[in-house]
Assembly symmetry: C4
Homo-oligomer: 216 residues x 4
């Protein structure tokens, strides 16, 4: 089956997620003359929007590169992809909880919001992991042969485990410090992006080697 | 007429539906320190979001496989497709009613919400049925010849009737037990997914046989 | 310039409009046990949602067939297309006003809402008219030659004028009867769909004649 | 890497932005019989919707023409494009602030809203500038050769600087007159569109010259 529609659906979901995140970040009622207080109050929340946009954007980059690597789709891949998209939509919910909790400033609310965000991040990592493992075991769906990528793949093999560890540490950290938990959550999202850069380099090298072999 | 735009519009509508469902599932006002109660209270509602996402996702899978099977579109198919998309958008309304009814816990509200959800499910099944019947009677639009699929088609021919029966039973069940009605509704959605797996296998077998015949 | 992106942007806008219309049609606050009243109260409003979906859907059908007829795009067509999409987004605003006015039942509110809806319909007709006139005068952008379509085109030439007349009559009717105005508005939207069927038949005939001439 | 998905994601984001802007422009609660006051009150706000639609539409036109000019994408271009899309989503936030501020009519609120809108416009200009500079330094990603476009490019080279100057002037103007600031902001958006017309003419000439050279 052609992968054009799985691409179209996924790009649609990512485009909507990237765009509707801003909808949550809006003043609801403003007393005349108090807009500067409202905007100032929103400044730290803006960081949460930035973080979530960055996170969903990185997930799109992973998804984009992954499907460069896929020749055609099948029923199972379609279902797995719907699961990936499902987990990514949850970022919206987690972000709203975090914005609400940071707005009211209550410690136990913030702790819970961090735990929910971390859980969503774990689910996203898990869903992408399923997607990758499935492709590894179905060479007939791949554009690049397994052999070409294996040697480089070892270097990034543990990246998902690293990602998962950071989010788990952030969850544990909520029990003694929301500041540490928050820093670890941000670190997890940033590491997610670094992992993408590493992953994309491996795919790039493998694709080039294959091309070189073909043109030799 | 090329089917690229009917695919693009449909993928757009499905992508938006899959994504905006989460927007309905959000706390509106939180008293500081009460976020855990809000989140706990939402846990059962989360199941309704999961159910609706799963339902719309399965509808996309059906739609995806159906159009694999379509060579080109025409005016009537475009109009029928708009009707299919219309019925699928109603899932959003049905889900919101169900979430509201389950939130307030009133028995007659929940009964009504189940009936509305079942009606929407019936409408979706009906609209897809029209789409399939139309294609059956227009072999010039098909990629796979009728003859190739008929023998296998018999096995799944009654699946839409089975689907419709489950939703009707769920509607009847609301008159004596919301629990039974709810279980039947969930069973209907799960059966919808099973019917997809059966349908997709038939299309797959028929397409392979055709390919085998061509390469013989 | 390739028309793939103008198609993609337009399909995106139409898909979103078709889907977000349902978002406006939702109960906001429900007292336990009153869901049946809420749903009954919404039944007539549901007709407005149906009407607006049908209207935007028909606009997509026009847009779809129009671009079948376009070989490639240029800067002016891109700008005109953005204007068309702009006028179509206004349906959402007009529908919300109408739903609000019908909900509160005030005669002067309903009159105003009909006038706004009629104005939006006039703007949409105008924007499509500009799109058609532009293509008529730029044969280098057409897939079908002008000569092939002219003879049939005469039959539908006055359809846009007919459409515009109905909406104008509906606006005038608001000054003595909202019922007549409402019926005329619905008639205008239904005629819009009939005009599409007529337009699409002409394009179909012209395309076939051209194909026949080529294969002779 | 093929640029089909970067196009799809971007068209999705632009389509959503163009469409959801109208969602912000809606009456929330209407007292029976007061719809005409509500609509009259919204008339000036409608101008802000028009301005924002026009601004996002122009950004799409720039983006569209830019990618005509791009042969294929790479990792850095994907990331830069996500940054461009991010800055464009902020128009929604800036428009809502402006609508709220103009609604309540408070001078200091309006001043702040103009400053935020100007800042967003500056960010958008900056993000597009990064996109252009990156392409300039990576001829391997271009469809048109550098040499072909350089001579014409000089004429529009300062347009981004002109754009940035207008928005900066508008920000400065808020300190003495919101009217001047508003006029400058509108002038900036209109100049943005004029700059697009100039830019698109240069690309058009360069592409034609290249084609002429090839067919000579």
């Amino acid at each position: 089956m052609s992968k054009s529609r799985i691409d179209a659906l996924s790009d649609g979901v990512f485009a909507i997620l990237l765009t509707i995140l801003i909808l949550e970040f809006q003043p609801e009622t403003i007393k005349p003359g108090s807009l500067n207080q409202v905007v100032l109050h929103q400044a730290p929340l803006f960081l949460m929007y930035l973080l979530s946009y960055f996170y969903v954007g990185t997930s799109w980059l992973f998804h984009h590169d992954y499907f460069q690597y896929v020749k055609r789709t099948n029923r199972t891949l379609n279902v797995l992809n719907l699961f990936v998209l499902f987990t990514v939509t949850l970022v919206n919910y987690a972000m709203v909880l975090l914005i609400e909790a940071l707005s009211d400033g209550n410690t136990s609310d913030i702790r819970l919001a961090f735990i929910v965000y971390d859980l969503v991040a774990l689910l996203i990592s898990l869903s992408f992991l399923l997607l990758y493992r499935y492709l590894e075991h179905h060479p007939e769906l791949q554009t690049v042969e397994r052999s070409g990528i294996t040697s480089h793949y070892e270097r990034i093999r543990l990246d998902p485990a690293r990602s998962v560890s950071i989010y788990l540490l952030s969850m544990i950290a909520t029990s003694f410090s929301n500041l540490v938990a928050g820093i670890l959550l941000i670190a997890g999202v940033v590491f997610h992006f670094i992992a993408y850069l590493r992953f994309s380099r491996v795919v790039h090298i493998a694709t080039n080697e294959k091309t070189n072999n073909l043109t030799k």
